[in-house]
Symmetry: C2
Subunit: 311 residues, 2 copies
């Protein structure tokens, strides 16, 4: 059996996995991300950890290569411009650098959201589909496009970075990115909490959300309990997410949208709210796209990273 | 020298070209599109014309293949679902059918807007760039995405069919597609004429547009003459087109947008209106995309069609 190393780099820890060519994670481990001194230890630490795992397992001849997902834009050539969470400020070819540290191993790098999308495409919710768009609903909205089985990185590595599509130029509140009316201001976990607070202020209806901390999770729990005010919030969320997906469909015409991230943990209950609005706004030629929930959770990053070096 | 046949099929005529591998059109001719009886003669007519040209020129051994652009969605496999303007109602593989009629020649088919995009990418305004989005501003808005030098057809052949992205769900007027607030309701030639009429009604300002037929052409002519009311229309057009392009950039992060179609004949004067609004709404990682005017005119379709079979 041949293996690939899947590396998923976050701001506090790096998840590493030994993944066989059938897409099974046979070993998974973690190391801390040392971001001090401009994050200069991040890649050497990863290389040391990979090399000792390979020697421990005596699989040097069976390792095809290593794929690495990073929290920043990575282009098709493996060039990363910046990764704020790793304290990386320089522009460099991360594939070349890690490959050298590993002793000239095949290395492919990608943006973490794109890499997770590839994981879901290979072994998760996108498995039975062709072109796919993954939409990760967390603090913000991340995303990744898989086209012909490959990551669509875009010119500067920002392909599929859909969180900052402007849906509403008239929005008064500014997004963290500096613009207004960004997709993620409405349909992320943060957006759901905001829509909930707005709804609570705008009405005096009784709601279980008046007696708990307002989060995306408590909001969807309330929807599950039939809470009318929460259902109104779900409808507003669905309006923005369904409309946003219809716009994306109008550009790249995918076969499936895979919804991941914290918000997706609420499960299939979120889908009808999205679907209804998606169908209302999507151009007829793109309207058959499926919308499904991601299935791999945190493993998506490890699997997708490994898949980058598996043909 | 090797040649490819470039075929650009319209509702009234088919343009054919002999294109060498350097991208020069060495011969161009036209035949009528016979749409009667469900358009059953369209492909046989094309095949006959191509075969007689090849025999007339005695280049049978030098022809690599034929590419064909069609007014309808064509997927990666060459399957067309419908082409209203050709009276084609069936779903079939147009590549296989034309290839057989031509005596087993290599044939590639694509949607006409996508094929024109490939032409501009190969020999026109997109020549010096990587990933490109072409935006054709005519009666409606068409488009095509070129990724890694190839047409991005999408799942049902609707990739890059950006005219029906919904920018304004609150629009009262319905688009021809049945939805509301479509991109092409604002930024096409038809959209420009509508915005002009709205502006003429909303104000009593003197304008040369009160004394002429209102079209996209007369509107841009008035802008060139410094007509203040026309400049306001240009600003509204730029608002919608710039915003729309920023949304597309947020999905596919191209290096360049190439603006073609009738409206682009006004020339570079349209660009600052678009640019300003594009920059205001685009996510910073996508903001460096260039916006340029198409250069090939009607030849884009012939060249792009030929390019599909030239490596």
């Amino acid at each position: 059996m041949k293996y690939a190393i899947g590396i998923d780099v976050g701001g506090t820890s790096v998840k590493l996995g030994l993944v066989n060519t059938d897409g099974e994670i046979t070993e998974i481990w973690e190391i801390p991300t040392r971001t001090e001194e401009g994050g200069k230890n991040v890649l050497p630490d990863i290389a040391d950890s990979v090399k000792s795992k390979i020697s421990e397992k005596r699989i040097a001849d069976d390792v095809i290569g290593a794929g690495i997902g990073l929290p920043g834009p990575v282009d098709d050539e493996g060039i990363i411009r910046k990764a704020v969470n790793l304290h990386w400020e320089r522009t460099f070819n991360v594939e070349d650098e890690l490959s050298e540290l590993l002793g000239v191993m095949k290395v492919k790098a990608g943006n973490d959201a794109n890499v997770a999308a590839l994981g879901e495409y290979w072994q998760g919710a996108g498995k039975d589909y062709g072109d796919m768009v993954m939409v990760t609903l967390g603090t913000g909205i991340g995303g990744g496009i898989i086209h012909h089985g490959q990551i669509f990185a875009g010119t500067t590595g920002a392909g599929g970075e859909i969180g900052h599509i402007c849906l509403n130029p008239n929005e008064k509140i500014r997004c963290n990115c500096g613009n207004v009316g960004c997709f993620e201001q409405y349909a992320s976990a943060t957006g759901i909490a905001r829509l909930t607070r707005e709804e609570l202020e705008a009405s005096s209806d009784e709601s279980e959300l008046r007696h708990t901390e307002v989060t995306a999770k408590t909001m969807w729990d309330a929807v599950k309990n039939g809470d009318k005010l929460a259902i109104r919030v779900a409808e507003r969320f669905g309006y923005y997410l369904g409309w946003g997906l219809s716009v994306i469909a109008g550009v790249v015409n995918p076969e499936v949208f895979v919804i991941g991230g914290g918000v997706s943990k609420a499960g299939d209950i979120i889908l009808p709210y999205i679907r209804k609005n998606f169908e209302e706004h999507a151009f007829h030629a793109c309207r058959d796209a499926q919308i499904v929930i991601a299935t791999l959770g945190n493993s998506a990053g490890t699997l997708g990273a490994a898949k980058m070096v598996i043909d």
